[in-house]
Amino acid sequence: MDQSLAMGGYAGYILTAYGVTALVVVGNIIAARRRFRRTQLRLRDQLGRRAGRPVGREA
């Protein structure tokens, strides 16, 4: 069992490679979701501010 977990002495390298890849995968999901949410909130805020403004003051 210990031998199979050691992966022939390469476990550190293998798990580092898989760990970095997992971070990239999870990071991409979080970054994409966060960016979409931020864009949506920013645009909704702009839309709300614009609706509150008197007509004729828009650039």
Partner: protein, 251 residues
């Protein structure tokens, strides 16, 4: 064919399609990632020369393949945006860059971690490694150039030209191991020849390549939605979407 193409270029249609695609693609992608990783880490036998260290292939090769495939997608989208002035194409190109940069980074790090036990060094100024590093700089350059312009149209045009010019680096990366003496091993998979890897080692690799591809398309769909919404902010359909959207961004 052209009707479908022009329908796809319509922002409201594209926005709705991308919303559906992101979950349809990401769920199977994550399932396939888990299957491929299990196959690569546990089920595949050790290599007769590299032992268990070869298992890094299951994350390194798909990352490297994706780094190049995303760049080609970005350059193609940039070219379509330049030639036909299709705004969606520029949105696709802009959304590709951060995903491509992250997988290029993954390819470089996993390659370095594989290189240490096999070559005795994390880094060597080898043609394959150097051209892959240039690819990472091209992604950074593309994103930096986009950020340097306040005018979106200028940013689209300038970054598309850079993407199209930089695509010349992709065949250099791919053929570097053939054209020059390289520490890096030759291609494991080739379209023209039988793979130089046995079937029980091959299936997890193909599963991971498919998983990474679906993952990229799912994340791309997610990112393009935000990009399209921001670009189409003045359009009535975008404002209707924003008014009916939930704060969590589920819509």
């Amino acid at each position: 064919m052209w009707t479908w193409f022009f329908r796809l270029a319509s922002p409201p249609h594209f926005y709705a399609l991308a919303g559906k695609l992101s979950s349809w693609l990401l769920i199977p992608a994550l399932a396939l990632l888990a299957i491929g990783a299990w196959g690569g880490l546990v089920l595949a036998p050790p290599d007769y020369q590299q032992g268990d260290a070869f298992r890094i292939i299951y994350v390194h090769v798909p990352s490297a393949y994706l780094s190049m495939m995303i760049y080609v997608t970005m350059a193609l989208a940039g070219a379509i945006g330049l030639i036909w002035r299709i705004k969606i194409a520029h949105a696709v190109a802009a959304s590709c860059a951060p995903i491509g940069a992250s997988f290029t980074f993954a390819a470089l790090v996993t390659g370095a971690v594989w290189g240490k036990p096999m070559w005795g060094t994390y880094w060597e100024w080898d043609p394959r490694l150097t051209s892959e590093l240039i690819l990472l700089f091209l992604y950074f350059g593309y994103m930096g150039l986009r950020g340097a312009f306040e005018d979106l149209n200028q940013a689209d045009r300038a970054s598309a030209i850079l993407a199209v010019a930089g695509v010349a680096n992709v065949p250099i990366i791919h053929f570097s191991v053939v054209w020059w003496a390289s520490l890096h091993q030759g291609p494991t998979l080739s379209k023209l020849e039988a793979p130089s890897i046995s079937g029980d080692m091959l299936w997890p690799l193909l599963t991971m390549i498919l998983a990474f591809t679906l993952f990229f398309l799912g994340i791309l769909a997610m990112r393009v939605r935000g990009e399209v919404l921001a670009r189409e902010f003045q359009a009535r359909w975008a404002q209707d979407v924003l008014r009916s959207a939930t704060p969590e961004g589920a819509n």
